[in-house]
């Protein structure tokens, strides 16, 4: 069915109501440190509004396990005092939560206008060619994932790539392949970081 005589109904891939149930995965519980961290974060919100801590609780789970499983969602629901469906509702909406394993380095290439004007499309092409994967996929050795993301808010340093929680600025297409080698050799030291951190210079 459609709302327009000329156009089809939105495809499943982009339809946010199209849900697949998360796999349960291994049993999940916070490490003592993460539990303590969660207990602190929850105090920032009114006592009867624990649900506000849901994003923070999910970040802790993702940090601990790399991605969010059904078991982790149930655990978070228990911590917050809401239903697992409430948690899944949130996980499936926000793009920064992963529901399947990702690589050690997640290369989030900004694809929106300012970065695209300076070659971001080619950066993605070069990265994918170098790694032998398509956008959204992870290399077989579990090292790299390439994801195209929307505007990262660093348009003056285009093209920008967010690698996990770090930034790499002004990655030109012809540097993309060497960038991958550089990460393999030097790990986090390969990233430029944010140019505003002038103290590093």
């Amino acid at each position: 069915m459609s709302f327009h005589p000329e156009m089809e109904y939105a495809p499943a891939r982009f339809h946010k109501s199209e849900r697949t149930l998360a796999e349960m995965g291994e049993p999940f519980a916070y490490t003592p440190e993460n539990q303590a961290r969660f207990n602190e974060i929850v105090t920032r919100y009114p006592a009867d509004e624990r649900k506000s801590a849901i994003l923070a609780a999910l970040y802790l789970a993702q940090q601990q396990q790399g991605y969010i499983t059904g078991a982790a969602m149930r655990f978070v629901a228990g911590q917050i005092g809401c239903t697992p469906a409430d948690v899944e509702d949130v996980v499936s909406y926000y793009t920064m939560f992963y529901t399947k394993p990702v690589g050690k380095y997640v290369l989030n290439v900004c694809r929106t206008l300012s970065c695209a004007l300076l070659g971001a499309e080619r950066v993605t092409e070069q990265l994918c060619a170098k790694l032998g994967i398509r956008p959204g996929e992870t290399t077989a050795d579990g090292e790299f994932t390439v994801i195209e993301v929307e505007c990262l808010g660093a348009c003056d340093r285009a093209p920008v790539v967010m690698v996990n929680d770090d930034w790499h600025e002004r990655l030109s297409p012809d540097q993309a392949a060497t960038f991958v080698d550089d990460i393999k050799a030097r790990g986090k030291a390969a990233f430029t970081g944010c140019h505003l951190h002038v103290e590093k210079e």
Binding site: M7, F14, T95, C194, L196
Partner: protein
Amino acid sequence: MWRRNRVAFEPVLTNHVREPNSFSLDFYLTHARGYEALRKAVTLKPNDIIEQVKASGLRGRGGAGFPTGLKWQFVLKDTPKPKYIACNADESEPGTFKDHVLMERNPHLLIEGCAIGCYAIGAKVAYIYIRGEFYHVQETLERAIEEAYRAGFLGKNILGSGFDCDVYVHRGAGAYEAGEETALIESLEGKRAQPRIKPPFPAVAGLYQCPTAVNNVETLCNVPLIVLNGPEWFASLGPEKNGGPKLYCISGHVKRPGVYEASMHTTLRELVFGEQYAQGMSGGRAFKAIIPGGSSVPLLLDEHLDTPASFDHVQQAGSLLGSAGLIVLDESVCMVWLAMNLLHFYRHESCGKCTPCREGGDWLYKLLQRVERGEGRTKDIDLLYGVASNIVGKTLCAFGDAAATPVLTTLKLFRHEFEAHVREGRCTLPADWRATQPVLMGATH
């Protein structure tokens, strides 16, 4: 020509951002009259602060340009419920990166602004909703907040005044829509970032159904300056009703992209071509068009560049200042591609609540893809117009209008490019900085 009566402008928000450790409390106290405004504010009546902000003419820097003093005045006073400030640090509008600089290099100014805002509206808690991608910024902010607590500028009985105020950072998780004020509140409450029906406005029923003021980072950063230097000083910095300093984010095909602080007397041409600003076009190609206020606003052409970059002047010229994200486009930019790039963004970021935006955005993207590939039919151009104009005004929040704008503005100004694509069956302006594949299909995670 626009009437000009300019005084020399000195940056006041970003004057220290390039100096080492400008984010520290010590630096803020010694170089920037740090927390003097808060010290002064707590001796005033809350209502006097609101009156000062009103008199200054400060307008919201997030995009809508709504007068901040009025917003604060609307916050319900006679209620037993707690009140809140929600600082919008979600900065996701494509082409915008000003709040990033303020939070990373001048975080205490924001914290001071939050505290004064809380005092003025009678709130005790401010939440700074920061986008998930700004992880390093969050670390800086949290360090600064801790410093402020230790020095007694936050917490209980601030500066012996009996005023209590807590400021917390709340990290989002990748949703453009969370920048809309009611969606931001939903996200703060731990739900999907989807907008609410207005009214009631957040000033009456916002966070946890309590009165809430939602203010942009740059807006709150201006508040200490107003308290310290007076509303007349603030208003005198810019044209009438467009006072104060303004941060402009310039990106795209320019020599020196970046964040520049200027008065709103400054014209778009000065910002793009001026020596102390972006220094003109990079790559030796000619200017084609500019998006003056983040990706959601109509394009302007060369003939509009002498417009002062103020809320009112840019609006008179047929666009909006929005979040002051200037994206400069040179002659190599295909306008069908541009609309397609932006519709990919809007289709992906639509929260899915309202049908015209959710379905319409997807249809627009598909149609644009078809035209860009050279497979478009003549009637697709009218279909694009039909779908886009049927999204406008039919959604709960401004996202729908924003999503339709790239299509409507490119069709209005560059319809001949669409027609050429259809006629020649290919993209007529394939730039060397674009993907080598005809259309790179982004897999979204």
